[in-house]
Symmetry: C2
Subunit: 416 residues, 2 copies
């Protein structure tokens, strides 16, 4: 049941995304040590096992006192309190504080029972008398001064981090504070990458007339890693349908997700298109109303996803960001699988028109608190060099008249 190559049913990008992510199921979880979890996705929610801080903590170097003892500190009057303890960080106070007494205390140390304020060292004086030491205070203190109370940041049982959270350095600080030295995260998806095309040379090969080096596979390899996946480079598929079918089938059985680049347009050698069409029941889409990358094709076989991206570098890049990134992210149960969409002002006219939505490589600038997006000077689908200089994609809806500088646009923020 072969479709006509030229008669493809075109889906909107959001429709195509909805179709493909249905099959992007979270993988199993695994335990990793705290020092390996940055950039991974949490596979369990983290609940505070104890209040944080766990005790009333001094936020100053100084003296723990009863604030009421300073009530007479007016008009330069000094109150003298007997120093009955010395509490370095990490120590347990030996003595409770009672009226008329104080304890020397360090920043971060546990405030002793009885004390309800800490007076900072710099505003105190000290004297000795009959073998006892006293601290002199000249300033009236409010209760709770310079104390961070137990549970100030989190109470026991509070949600600290939700499932599907991308773990950052700041998260690691909190996990460490709660003693979580191993962390349950989703396994990284193993993503197989194929290129197709007899025109492709390996990167290390010398240039030959008519040929180009395979630049999409190394780019996809880096993009897969950036998205948290493990790239498995499976080389090039030559233009032999039988061989292509068995290679792709093997990859689908062995890996979590298969991405190919090239071989999906309407030419005679569009092997990936042929391969998907021959089992059209499994095809999710083979045309998307987008530029570049309208030929982007996806299929599902035995529960595994096959994404066939265009061989044009620009289209391959955009197709990865729109379709592969959410799939790889959702396999790790990411709470935010799509790239963020921001609003911005168009910095210069953009007059290329199309009946498909265009994803234009562009650069963001921030001026006086406002975002401006500048389209790349050349953004043909086949162009490679502007990928590296872009930090967003401007979403240009199908338009008769193009867009003018000053128009409001939606941009998709690229990572990094």
């Amino acid at each position: 049941m072969k479709d006509n190559k030229f008669q493809r049913e075109a889906l909107q990008v959001k429709e195509a995304q909805a179709k493909i992510i249905k099959y992007a199921n979270p993988l199993e979880s695994e335990d990793v040590s705290l020092d390996e979890c940055c950039g991974r996705y949490l596979a369990e929610k983290v609940i505070a096992p104890h209040p944080f801080p766990a005790f009333n903590r001094s936020s100053m170097d100084g003296y723990a006192i009863i604030a009421g003892d300073t009530r007479n500190c007016v008009n330069g009057q000094v109150v003298w309190l007997e120093i009955v303890d010395n509490i370095p960080c990490g120590a347990v106070p030996a003595v409770d504080i009672t009226p008329g007494t104080a304890a020397r205390i360090m920043t971060g140390a546990q405030v002793p029972v009885g004390a309800d304020a800490v007076v900072m060292l710099e505003v105190t004086e000290r004297r000795e008398e009959e073998g006892k030491t006293y601290v002199g205070i000249r300033k009236k203190l409010e209760a709770n001064s310079n104390i961070t109370p137990q549970g100030f940041e989190l109470s026991q049982g509070d949600l600290v981090l939700p499932t599907g959270r991308l773990i950052s350095a700041g998260d690691i600080a909190v996990l460490a504070a709660f003693g979580l030295h191993t962390v349950k995260v989703y396994r990284r998806p193993k993503v197989a990458i194929f290129a197709t095309g007899t025109e492709l040379l390996e990167v290390h090969e010398p240039l030959e007339p008519g040929k180009i080096r395979n630049s999409n596979s190394p780019m996809l390899e880096a993009l897969v890693k950036e998205t948290g996946g493990v790239s498995v480079m499976l080389g090039a598929i030559v233009d032999d349908l039988e061989l292509a079918r068995s290679k792709v089938q093997m990859a689908l059985e062995t890996y979590d997700f298969v991405i190919t680049t090239g071989g999906v347009s309407v030419g005679d050698y569009d092997i990936m298109g042929d391969l998907v069409r021959e089992q059209s029941g499994n095809m999710l889409f083979n045309k998307v109303t987008m530029r570049p990358g309208s030929v982007t094709t996806a299929a599902v076989r035995g529960g595994k996803l096959l994404l066939a991206l265009s061989g044009n570098p620009g289209a391959c890049f955009v197709g990865f960001q729109l379709f592969a990134r959410p799939v790889i992210s959702l396999m790790q149960s990411a709470s935010k699988p799509f790239l963020p969409e921001w609003s911005a002002t168009l910095g210069t006219d953009y007059k290329r028109v199309n009946n498909f939505t265009r994803f234009v490589r562009a650069r963001l600038e921030i001026k006086d608190g406002s975002l401006f997006a500048y389209p790349a000077l050349i953004d043909e689908s086949s162009v490679t060099v502007t990928i590296k200089d872009s930090d967003c994609l401007i979403v240009v809806p199908p338009e008769e008249k193009g867009l003018s500088a000053g128009d409001k646009v939606t941009v998709i923020k690229l990572p990094g």
Copy 2:
């Protein structure tokens, strides 16, 4: 020659940054393979070794022709050209195109000599006559239609990527296209991380009264990695000046950069402060007019930098971003060693005032093309939880009156 602990000469943040980066010299370079260079910094500029594309390339599946042959295609008139060649991708054209002839050509294939346009397959027809095959064209074509000329993206000798460039997935595509399978990058700095303080428990240890788990070291480990460095975890320094001195000395001799956390304020056990003060000739600064982290201290010994960050988690984080990040980046010769500063509008009032510049953890929102920054509800220097929820730091200058919603502010964009 001990300074008085309380009498420190305070530097502005920019002054302190200028002092420390003077000693952040680029490390040696090393060759890595293309698949390992993403996120590294280029140690040589990349010059295009050949034009890109290397040949006139068809951007369509169709027929390579001489545009002039279609000059009579008006009012539905069809011109018939003899098909003399078939050029798949990667092939070298066998025949030059002369008036009256055409070659079947694939997207991405080399345009034959003589042809100056490609007509797309979908608008052509085909017929056979006396053993010859002809293509019928109904539409007048302009010269250069559907051809991407040699050197369209880059000419031979063009600068492709400058030294100090952080290599992205898009850069990898270009490096691959030019056959650069190994890439010269700066070595990753080895950054030793110490914590100080007898109050610290290891992450795996059960909580004890008065003690806290060391959360700064794992956070710094993740931040160093994020900045391209290699973290070397050297545990905790106990409060013994002699031991601390020898440990820090060993680390300075062995690694490229030493970061400590804790032990820099004015308490009795502020061992890092003591250690730096005892050789004050080497001290770069021990007070910065910033909150949090005013006690941030830096010294240089034997040409190596020692950065002593505050033990307060918020201050440790901010100190890393302002001082350690540029150092680690510059050791890799980064062209942009500092985090980007953006302008934004303050989303809510911020009324905490201080005579020092405050770096307030905050969250960015984009509404209708404008950036709004929302300060974290609690941003005490000792607070850990708001680090993870912040994507920027609002720079609050020393102010008498605080800031109001709607005020323009500068924010430092955090990575990720």
